[in-house]
């Protein structure tokens, strides 16, 4: 059953929790992210976080919703993280986190609605200029700037559309 997609709107704040830590390499080191938050991110009304607070499971960073058209999945994605990183937190086995550097192409998606910000170069071997104009990008190289609706390509579709 496909969930209704919310139209893109202003970024909202969620008390997003990392309900199930997913190992996608170095990126999810919790303490490191708290440290990073304290250093770089505005906390807008929620006060600074402390890496010293035990069980600090709330990451209150500006987040938006990402909806996946084909599977109906929805996840919260921070404005400073890639669509892929947020997607990996869905915890579905087999989400193809590849090089996470824009080179291998396994996380190709199409942004159907909403806006994203490019985090770095995307290999032309996987996303042509024409495709880019149509909204295609690599999920590891795009951070949301609003709520977004994305369509996943074939290599992502399988893991997302079967039960976790």
């Amino acid at each position: 059953m496909t969930r209704q997609h919310r139209p893109p709107s202003e970024p909202r704040y969620l008390l997003g929790t990392v309900s199930k830590p997913i190992d996608i390499g170095r990126y999810d080191a919790f303490a490191a992210s708290i440290h990073y938050l304290n250093k770089h991110l505005p906390t807008r009304g929620l006060g600074p976080f402390s890496a010293q607070v035990p069980n600090q499971m709330f990451v209150s960073r500006p987040k938006v919703s990402v909806h996946i058209l084909s599977s109906g999945d929805e996840y919260a994605c921070c404005l400073d993280e890639s669509l892929l990183k947020g997607m990996a937190r869905l915890g579905k086995r087999g989400i193809p986190v590849g090089c996470a550097s824009g080179g291998c192409g396994v996380c190709k998606v199409r942004v159907v609605e909403g806006d994203v910000r490019k985090l770095g170069p995307v290999s032309r071997a996987h996303v042509t200029e024409q495709e880019e104009a149509q909204g295609y990008t690599l999920a590891c190289r795009a951070a949301p700037t609003s709520n977004v609706l994305i369509e996943v390509n074939s290599s992502l579709r399988k893991p997302l559309c079967r039960p976790a």
Binding site: P96, G98, C99, S101, G102, C104, P121, S123, A125
Partner: protein, 315 residues
């Protein structure tokens, strides 16, 4: 005896040159030895004696431009050219100076499509410890302090349904023409008739090149040699410090017995730093065969679990 001495260099495409230089200098520990007018950057490891072993070229995509092996003499190039042509592969002899510091290059494409070059001459600059009463290592080692570029693994188009197996073709070519020898192989299919991956040597290590079947051809990784398991751990520490995306944390391969870590450069080209001889590669050593059902153990010996990203992700 093979005319091929060893792997000589790899030419890689990178999408962000500054990030790539930072990676190969500070994570691998290579040093820039030259830049040319086209903006190509040449690097070497401290324990290599020829001028360079890596060429970085700016591109809009990642991947391998070419892989080069060094042969014993210029005469070997002239002997090999007709042998390669007779096998059915067209060649081009690139004149001296096509690449800086490098003599003539015999250029051709493997059956898998990868561009390979053979050369006999490259400027000798010596290792960082020199050759006269040398210390075992220099004082200015950065990052992982990789000793040398050791081998590469190329993903080769394999589509048994369509009768395409460029792993097998590449392997035959390397053995029949370049006089490599097979050390290990993976066999697949109901009657084990599909040679799905091979490891081949021209030196005395378990492999100087490897071919693994996949839906399309590409670069799986280039690998750098380290002394010991502890160096592999330290290499992983460096990656953690530098926020490098680690693909496979330190572990051991069943195949080649390598003690290893895999990671990506900032363009997504996979690198490996590994340690250990594995075993002495010899022409009369029985070929090790891994069956498809044990492939997990062959690749990751401890868990025996196949990691999809490791076999499916490449540039």
């Amino acid at each position: 005896m093979s005319a091929i001495l060893r792997i000589g260099h790899a030419s890689l495409r990178v999408m962000d040159m500054d990030a790539a230089i930072n990676h190969y200098e500070n994570v691998l520990g290579m040093k820039i030895v030259a830049r040319d007018k086209q903006g190509h950057v040449y690097l070497k490891c401290w324990d290599e004696w020829d001028k360079f072993s890596l060429i970085l070229t700016a591109s809009d995509r990642a991947g391998l431009n070419h892989i080069a092996y060094k042969v014993r003499s210029e005469a070997d190039l002239d002997l090999l050219q007709p042998r390669i042509e007779a096998w059915g592969i067209p060649t081009t002899m690139l004149p001296e100076g096509t690449l800086p510091f490098t003599g003539r290059q015999l250029q051709f494409n493997l059956p898998s499509g990868h561009e390979m070059r053979l050369y006999a001459t490259k400027e000798l600059v010596g290792t960082d410890v020199g050759s006269l009463n040398p210390d075992p290592w220099p004082d200015d080692i950065k990052g992982s302090g990789a000793h040398w570029l050791d081998h590469c693994l190329l993903m080769c188009e394999l589509n048994p349904g369509a009768g395409v197996n460029t792993v097998e073709l590449n392997t035959r070519f390397m053995i029949e023409v370049l006089d490599f020898f097979l050390t290990e192989q993976v066999v697949a299919g109901p009657d084990h008739s599909i040679q799905a991956a091979t490891w081949l040597a021209c030196t005395t290590t378990p492999h100087d090149i490897a071919f693994v079947g996949g839906p399309s051809s590409g670069l799986h990784h280039i690998a750098y040699f380290l002394d010991s398991w502890h160096d592999v751990l330290k290499s992983a520490d460096i990656m953690a410090k530098r926020k490098v995306r680690i693909d496979v944390a330190p572990t051991r391969h069943g195949i080649t017995r390598g003690e290893t870590i895999y990671f990506f450069d900032p363009s997504g080209n996979r690198n490996e730093t590994f340690a250990g001889l594995g075993y002495l590669g010899q022409r009369d050593r029985p070929v090790t065969t891994w069956t498809e059902d044990q492939l997990g153990s062959g690749i990751f010996y401890h868990t025996g679990d196949l990691v999809p990203s490791f076999t499916e992700v490449y540039t």
